[in-house]
């Protein structure tokens, strides 16, 4: 499973930047049956969080109706140079992280 993150490398102080996140994930609903007729177990991302300098700036809860390979986009005001961290957790409790550095000058 990989992730594509689209974020500018640098921004002016106070600039509103757009952050786009595309996560490779099957988002299996848990309602479908497989070829053997048995239910395919649910496998979805339940939450996506973004931390800017360690502070939570964005969070989304995801549900079974969200498409596979979900796309999440949001805006952020760039104040200070620092790390932007993305954390997403699936229904089995497995957490993935990815971080980017934003330079504000």
């Amino acid at each position: 499973m990989s992730v594509l993150i689209n974020i500018p490398d640098s921004a002016a102080p106070g600039e509103i930047i757009e952050i786009k996140l595309l996560i490779q994930h099957p988002m299996e609903t848990g309602f479908r049956t497989g070829p053997d007729g048995a239910l395919v177990p649910r496998d979805i991302i339940e939450s996506v969080t973004c931390l800017y300098l360690g502070e939570e700036v964005f969070r989304a809860d995801l549900y079974p109706a969200i498409t596979a390979n979900p796309f999440v986009g949001f805006h952020l005001r760039a104040d200070t140079t620092g790390e932007i961290e993305f954390i997403w957790t699936d229904n089995a409790g497995v957490t993935s992280r990815e971080a980017r550095t934003l330079t504000v000058a």
Binding site: S2, N6, Q24, M27, T67, A68, N69
Partner: protein
Amino acid sequence: MRRAIVFTVAFLLPGLAWSDDRRTGYDDMNADLQALQDDPMNPATFWVLDGERLWSEPAGTTAQSCADCHGSAEDSMQGVAARYPSFDESSGTAVDLLGRIALCQSRHQQTAQPRDRSDPDRLALLAYVTHQSRGLPIMPDEDPRLAPARARGEALFSSRMGQLNLSCAQCHDDNAGGYLAAARIPQAHPTGYPQYRLEWETIGSLDRRLAGCMTGVRADPFAPGSPELVALELFLKSRAAGLTVEALPIRP
């Protein structure tokens, strides 16, 4: 009749540019879906990246990678997807690109063959190889040994099949541009396979698309990679000669 003439010209003069009224699936999509396809950050990119990784990963009992023989895919695989299906010397049959990758894996890497021809790793390799032909015109292989299979594909295209007793041509030639329920009927030019279908939520090969159509007319679909499907692809590619390869496309 006019379209029949266009196709005859297309068949006799493959690779030449001409003005025509052919439309690809991309032309028929709405602006939002076109924007999704044009954005490099679309879900199909995951498979291209997976394929790029697999290209240089040793596999099989010979522990060879694709790159060991073919070098950089950017150079060696450019234009390959634009001319497939091709003729395989040792089996004496036409093979599509997915079949060629499977043959390479079994002959040169000696990998254990997955039960599913469209195994995810193999599809990712197909996606990566096809990506090297993006933007190039479809140039069907002119090897004369492919002619019988291509003629068979043309015959299959206009053969009625299934409980609905419909041929490909009845929708995709006679009624292209019309609607089947809410879906626009395309002219069936295979400009971009594999493709990411929102309906599938993953990428799939032309096999899977054709099987979907055949199930739709309530026919028993040809097996993935069967000579019939390769023949159909040969005909469809010659019909689409000169159109641009999309890699990878998004479809609804």
